[in-house]
């Protein structure tokens, strides 16, 4: 699947464990042979299906931190990022209203829409070819996660020496 928001020539990372990040919902997903053949099972590349509860809370905290009322329909940064170029299926926006009915409706609708939508490949008008998909993953994956023991002492962030 081609991500219309990924700039042409952009390279996606593949971790040592074989995971990459969905460019839409940002979840880690199993990388296919190439970025173009990598499919997100969580959002089908549309960025949908976010946590209703988490989205509600994030929006509430953001609204309060900005001095608004607790029910203000404010997007969190991820919601803002994802809302570009997609239909208004993001549960965060509607659930910020705090309506139980709205939540139920959004959950049902969001799940249905996301799971049944066909794969979308953007094709420019007038017959121009679609953007070139990324053809490979970055070959220098990020470091593995470091061990962090209980009892709280994070491995030291060493000063430059």
């Amino acid at each position: 699947m081609t991500d219309p928001k990924t700039p042409a020539g952009a390279v996606r990372q593949r971790s040592r464990s074989g995971l990459t990040r969905c460019t839409k919902c940002r979840r880690h997903i199993v990388a296919g042979p190439t970025p173009a053949t990598t499919v997100c099972p969580f959002c089908d590349g549309r960025g949908g299906r976010r946590s209703a509860r988490g989205g509600f809370l994030a929006a509430t905290m953001l609204a309060m931190a900005c001095g608004g009322s607790e029910t203000a329909p404010v997007e969190d940064p991820v919601a803002q990022e994802q809302s570009e170029g997609q239909e208004a299926t993001d549960e965060t926006l509607t659930n910020a209203e705090g309506s139980e009915e709205a939540n139920e409706e959004d959950n049902a609708e969001g799940d249905t829409v996301v799971s049944e939508e066909p794969e979308v490949v953007p094709v420019p008008a007038y017959g121009a070819p679609p953007p070139e998909p990324d053809d490979d993953f970055e070959e220098q994956p990020a470091p593995d996660m470091q061990p962090m023991a209980r009892y709280g002492l994070a491995p030291a962030r060493r000063p430059q020496e």
Partner: protein, 433 residues
């Protein structure tokens, strides 16, 4: 690009690929403690009947150096209650390893701080589990918070780097914003957070524990704190091994997540080991002693024990075949391997199925469900012991109130370090347990 004004976190030089050997050791040098923490996994208080002598400790230091361990954290009990604690710390530094200390801070006075500086200790992490009342209720003394705070200020004014660690549970979760304000005041560089799990004394207080569905509130809260409070003030957030896994928060909360680092399975025995004060060597300091001790440093070389003991080296070799329950069928099972083995084991009686998982909570939420932990067996009352829990799946009511654990979000966001506690009713109840 939009974050150019702030420092971008990057994993430190300790990072190596998997299977490249132990680089981090957490060493309980005594079980003696001057606090009586309600959630203490080792039920610390009195020293073990047979703890390593100074000579034996120096032999362990030599063993660790041969293994090319890079960093050693001294813990207790309370490490400074051993007379020779700074001698051990100095030996660690002299051997080329990086030495840190984790402390409750009750007695870390000027004299002890000077000894730490002279010994070459590089980092001191002070435990703070909430604001005054909440912290004191969990730590078991009325002066715990003030003393910890004094220690933190002392360390901040010294050449030693200051870190803070915090247990997240039903008492502290709603005070994390207030705590983050305190960290900013203190000049803390690193904040490690971890979920309280039912080991040791915490196993006796199931009402202290978060329910798995509470993670649906915790993760957005941590995300907000990191973004709004910590990052702009140069504080690194280190979610502990039992905070995860995957989902949209992985890249935002995991240390190094923005650079692509993600949870890649429990590091117990593969990158990290734990040593108890009697010499018992485990894959992780938190794992139950009985099932996970690979050998004793009194009887052999620590490196040999790690290499040859299945109790230690079998953990990194686990695969999806070793998982069960939800985790066995999980999309991330091959990489995640059910998260933190310690957490899974003490909750469910054996590793391989971990209900403390945001992805799992989100998957249940998507079906209108939640998991609830119910205790089925009490802990026997020994160091590093545990009882047993089962999960019950039930309908999840939609969230319609702006509250976390019953506390209005507005109150949570307005909490300041000078406030005593948000949940004085709750802390009083805890004292009665």
């Amino acid at each position: 690009m939009e974050r150019s004004a702030v420092r971008i976190e990057a994993p430190n030089e300790l990072v190596r690929g998997q299977g490249q050997g132990v680089r981090y050791a957490v060493w309980e040098i005594t079980l003696a403690c001057d606090l009586g923490c309600r959630h203490c996994g080792s039920r610390a208080g009195k020293a073990r009947p047979r703890e390593l002598s100074t000579e034996e400790c120096l032999k362990v230091v030599a063993d660790l150096a041969v293994m090319e361990v890079q960093e050693v954290t001294l813990i207790g009990g309370e490490a400074y209650l051993r007379e020779d604690w700074d001698q051990i710390a100095k030996a660690i530094g002299d051997a080329g390893m990086y030495c840190g200390i984790t402390t409750g801070g009750r007695g870390f006075d000027d004299a002890r701080l000077k000894r730490a500086i002279d010994a070459g200790v590089r980092v001191i992490s002070v435990s703070l589990d909430g604001l005054r009342e909440t912290h004191n209720a969990q730590r078991g003394t009325r002066d715990a918070f003030d003393n910890a705070l004094a220690t933190a200020r002392r360390v901040a004014a010294s050449p030693i780097q200051l870190a803070v660690n915090t247990q997240i549970n039903r008492l502290s979760m709603v005070e994390l914003v207030g705590l983050s304000e305190l960290l900013i005041e203190l000049g803390v560089k690193a904040w490690q957070l971890q979920l309280t799990v039912p080991m040791g004394r915490a196993a006796d207080r199931a009402d202290l524990l978060l329910q798995p569905y509470d993670l649906l509130d915790l993760f957005p809260l941590l995300d907000w704190i990191k973004r709004e409070k910590l990052t702009p003030n140069g504080i690194d957030m280190f979610p502990g091994n039992n905070i995860g896994y995957f989902g949209e928060y992985e890249e935002r909360l995991r240390y190094g997540g923005a650079a692509g680092t993600h949870w890649s399975g429990c590091k117990a025995g593969d990158g990290c080991i734990g040593i108890e004060s009697d010499g018992a060597v485990k894959a992780c300091p938190s794992l139950p002693t009985k099932q996970y001790t690979g050998g004793s440093a009194l009887e052999g070389d620590v490196g040999d024990i790690v290499r040859d003991s299945p109790q230690i080296n079998a953990i990194p070799k686990r695969s999806r075949d070793d998982l069960w329950g939800f985790c066995k069928t999980c999309y991330y099972g091959d990489v995640c391997k059910a998260g933190c083995n310690w957490t899974a084991h003490v909750l469910m009686g054996r590793p391989g199925n971990n209900p403390y998982c945001i992805h799992r909570a989100l998957e249940h939420e998507a079906q209108g469900l939640r998991e609830v932990l119910v205790r089925t067996k009490a802990a026997p009352g020994e160091p590093f012991d545990h009882g047993a829990f089962k999960t019950v799946t039930e309908p999840l009511e939609p969230k319609t109130d702006a509250a976390i654990l019953g506390v209005p979000v507005e109150s949570i966001l307005q909490l300041r370090p000078s406030d005593l506690s948000l949940r004085s009713d709750h802390t009083k109840r805890l004292r009665l347990i």
